[in-house]
Structure formats: C-alpha cells, structure tokens
Amino acid sequence: MPERLAALDSKVLLGIQAIIPDCVQAHGLLREAKFLFRATPTVLQELERLEENAPEFTRALAQNTLFALPTWDVVSASFTDTETEVTEIHVKRVIERGILPEKNRGDLFALIEAAYMDCPLFITTKEELLAKRGDLTLALVDICGMSNLYIFSPPEIVHFFKGEG
C-alpha cells in the first residue's frame, strides 16, 4: 500500500501541542487511517522563528512542537536549491494570476511545498486558503503542473474521518 501523506500547517502543529481538540482529533484520526505527516520547510522555519522571537507561551509551544514532531509521525525533508527556486516561481505565478494577494505569499509557500512533497492533503486553519481551495487546487494543476492537493480544515477532517461526512 503506498504511503498516505498529509501536510500539517504551522498552526495545526502548534494546535496539537496546545491540545486544541480539533487539531488533536484530526491528527489522531488520520493517524488511525495510516496517514504519515509532513511539515514543509516553511513550516519548520516559522516554528523556529516563533521559538526565537515569540512571547513566552508561544515560544515554549513552538519549541515543544519541534521536539515532538518525530513522535507525531511528522517528517520534513529538505528542499534542494532547484526545488526552492521552482517553488518561488510558482508562488509568484499564483499571485500574478490573482488567486491570492501578495500578503498570502507565506501561505502559498507552505501549500506549494506540500504539493512538492506529494501530499494529497494540506490541513490548515488559514481562512484565505480554505476560502480559495478550489482555485488553488486548479492552480497547482494548471500553473504548477502538480498533482491534486486538497485543502481541508481540522474540523472537516474530524467530521469526515469520524464517519459523519
């Protein structure tokens, strides 16, 4: 059976560490369904940035999240320079196409990196990504030439994988 992969966005990982019920349940249900997890390079960079600069609670949360990733079956591979360059080009093209504005540049980095990591699922709490998920999935296929990547929130994952969907 091929690996089933889901990319977890920064706030979802922090939410698991903070024991936010939707985040913990979504991760647990996907784990039961034999998913493995990915944290993209952008997500790792953000967690480290928080660990260096955030107020005390968030700093401790970010640090403990980084420490806990392997125990949550979350892996993060490094990108080559070429992969990073191509990701930057794709982010620019999606912004130029008007699907999301420049202020969502970081969101697009995380999303496109997840597609590069062959994740069919990107789990996020980011409203802008969730609101534009149809266009973003098509943009990944059309602009970036990537396989389908579907964007869902933790409550949506819980609803579906608990058999309520």
Binding site: P41, L44, Q45, L50, L66
Partner: protein
C-alpha cells in the same frame, strides 16, 4: 532551555489567541526573508528535532 509548559494539558483561550497572532506574524516575517535567512532558521529547527530524537534514544523517554 525552557520546559515550563511541557506538562500542560491544554491552553487558555488567551494563550491560543496569542499563538494564532504570533504564528500569523511569523508567517509574514518568514515570507519576506532572504533564502539564506530561511535556511538558517530551518537548520536550527532541524538541529532541535535531531537533538530531541537523540535524547529520546539515549534516555528511552519522551520529551
């Protein structure tokens, strides 16, 4: 090393609010960084992950 919160069983809504705002801020800041700055952050994060794995392997305990 700050480990004060490791045994917490949950966060208050104020703490969750702080985490959410700070995470949004970090996303914006990181997205404006140079490739070298991002690379430094990523290396530091990977070193922490490796350190935690190594500590677990040595002690046989979860951090």
């Amino acid at each position: 090393m700050n480990t004060r919160h490791e045994t917490r069983t949950g966060a208050t809504s104020a703490e969750v609010g702080e985490m959410s705002r700070e995470a949004d801020k970090a996303r914006e800041e990181v997205s404006r960084m140079t490739r070298d700055q991002k690379s430094e952050l990523e290396s530091a994060a990977r070193a922490k992950i490796r350190g935690a794995k190594s500590a677990r392997a040595t002690c046989g305990t979860r951090l």
